[in-house]
Symmetry: C2
Subunit: 302 residues, 2 copies
């Protein structure tokens, strides 16, 4: 079966709508504001931002669909089969930074790439996943998050969840800190092994399960009382998020280097962040527990 680009695009735009609606409901504040933009070289997007909500301090849910007549040389250097092809890339990408340090930050992304040439089969794949970044670890939340991810994967094969959970652990890793960004989830790329129909179904299963995994955690933790200590720790830990996104995240770097829309790409950065030289939490504190008990890679679902 030939890839149905229009069906993927329709799904992604609808997914953006549904995610924004669910998160805005759980937030209970003013909701998302949309900013549509065009890309000179082809395509554009709908950036939706929730700023200073009740639960969400800053959240961005971005849909984009970009295309071009020819892939840049950087993109084809390691994939000579793509040279001379036109391409389309579309996806939904989101990051939610809550105010309350007891509500974890979450990130999700689903995307589709296709490169075409007349008279030849298209080259295409799906990618995506989601991952959770708590400030104060909660075992119940981590298990629920991973169970929801696993349930989304299981209909597509027993190996899917373990493979993409491991890939997520490896991808969201700060080498210079020797530390995971968070407690992981799913990450996949270059995915076409099930053929178009089933690969697309898998991407939808991941996309649809994000709010199922995140909203109950938001709901459960948004009322937990917190003070300056927790807030300080959250701002400090957000520094790690910035370090990962600007130093390691391939999507961010590729976007910035290839003239993507900077404000939509850097929408992922937290609203307020602090760095402190050589700061370390007190041994035995809940802050130390994050790095000791939650960030080390582990099997959350047995």
């Amino acid at each position: 079966m030939q890839p149905d680009k229009q069906a993927v695009k329709a799904y992604l735009m609808d997914l953006q709508d549904r995610i924004c609606q669910e998160l805005a409901e759980e937030d209970g504040g003013a909701g998302f504001v949309e900013d549509s933009w065009q890309r000179e070289a082809g395509g554009g997007g709908r950036t939706r931002v929730l700023d200073n909500g009740v639960v969400i301090e800053k959240g961005g849910v971005n849909f984009s669909h970009v295309f071009g007549g020819e892939l840049p040389a950087s993109a084809t250097a390691h994939r000579p089969e793509l040279a001379g092809r036109s391409f389309e890339a579309m996806g939904v990408s989101l990051v939610i930074h809550p105010k309350n340090p007891y509500v974890p930050t979450s990130h999700a992304n689903v995307r589709f790439f296709i490169a075409e040439k007349e008279g030849e089969d298209p080259v295409w794949w799906f990618g995506g996943g989601y991952d959770l970044t708590p400030y104060y670890g909660n075992r119940e939340d981590c298990v629920f998050w991973h169970q929801t991810a696993k349930q989304a994967c299981d209909p597509f094969g027993d190996d899917i969840y373990p493979r993409f959970k491991k890939w997520c652990d490896e991808y969201f890793y700060l080498k210079h800190r020797d530390e995971a960004r968070g407690v992981g989830g799913l990450f996949f790329d270059d995915f076409n092994e099930l053929g178009f129909e089933q690969s697309f179904a898998f991407m939808r299963a991941v996309g649809d399960s994000y709010t199922k995994a995140y909203r109950p955690i938001m709901a459960a933790r948004k009322e937990v009382a917190f003070g300056e200590r927790e807030r300080d720790f959250q701002l400090y830990r957000r520094g790690r998020y910035v370090e990962f996104n600007l130093v390691f995240d391939r999507g961010t770097l590729f976007g910035l280097q290839t003239g993507g829309r900077t404000e939509s790409i850097l929408m992922s950065l937290p609203p307020m962040v602090r760095w402190e030289y050589n700061w370390n939490p007190e041994p035995g504190s809940p802050e130390a527990e994050l790095t000791e008990a939650f960030l080390p890679h582990q099997d959350w679902v047995k």
Copy 2:
């Protein structure tokens, strides 16, 4: 004349002392705290941090001297003449983030690199410079900063200041924002064209002139009254500083990728930062003046 590594090291350690003393004096608070560290693969450093001073919100002045038996492959890929050589790298690197948004952030660095092999001439060079990042532009300060830089350069040739001023403009540039990081200063690397003695003298002239260029600006602006509006703008602009250092700065990335001491490398990051989606200053405001009148590259010294 053969390079005198010991003389360079002694100069750099003394320079760190003198810079810390001058900045602590101008700050008027508790001064710098030293943290000595060793590098497993060879060498170490003295990191000095001034946290929460009277004028300086966070300042770091780092001396390091690292060495190894063989350069990493990444370092010799573009410089095959260095393969199989032992190396030493030493330098002083500093960033000062003031509290008052009317006092610019400043950065300075001087460094020496040498790669040796028995029976062959050593390969060596100096590098360094300094640059200024104002939040609220002040023409007088920019001119004074560049005049001081030019005076340091002039004894070494008429072309030195224009060349290294231009290199600084080009280096400290955020391509994804199409915007300079600040108002520039000096930047040089691979510098050995004057022979060891004069090249070393030039590096000293740059190192010695940093406090001459920065301290009077600190002194002149540290008492200017400011409110929440200026502070908000400062935190917002500091986001650009983080973006540059984590996405573009070669020293930062090289350090993080090659197992440098993370806390000393990221000492350059501001203490508190904010990002806001698609924020733009009001036309005609002092905040807009920064990007309109100060950041565009220009000749500050006629």
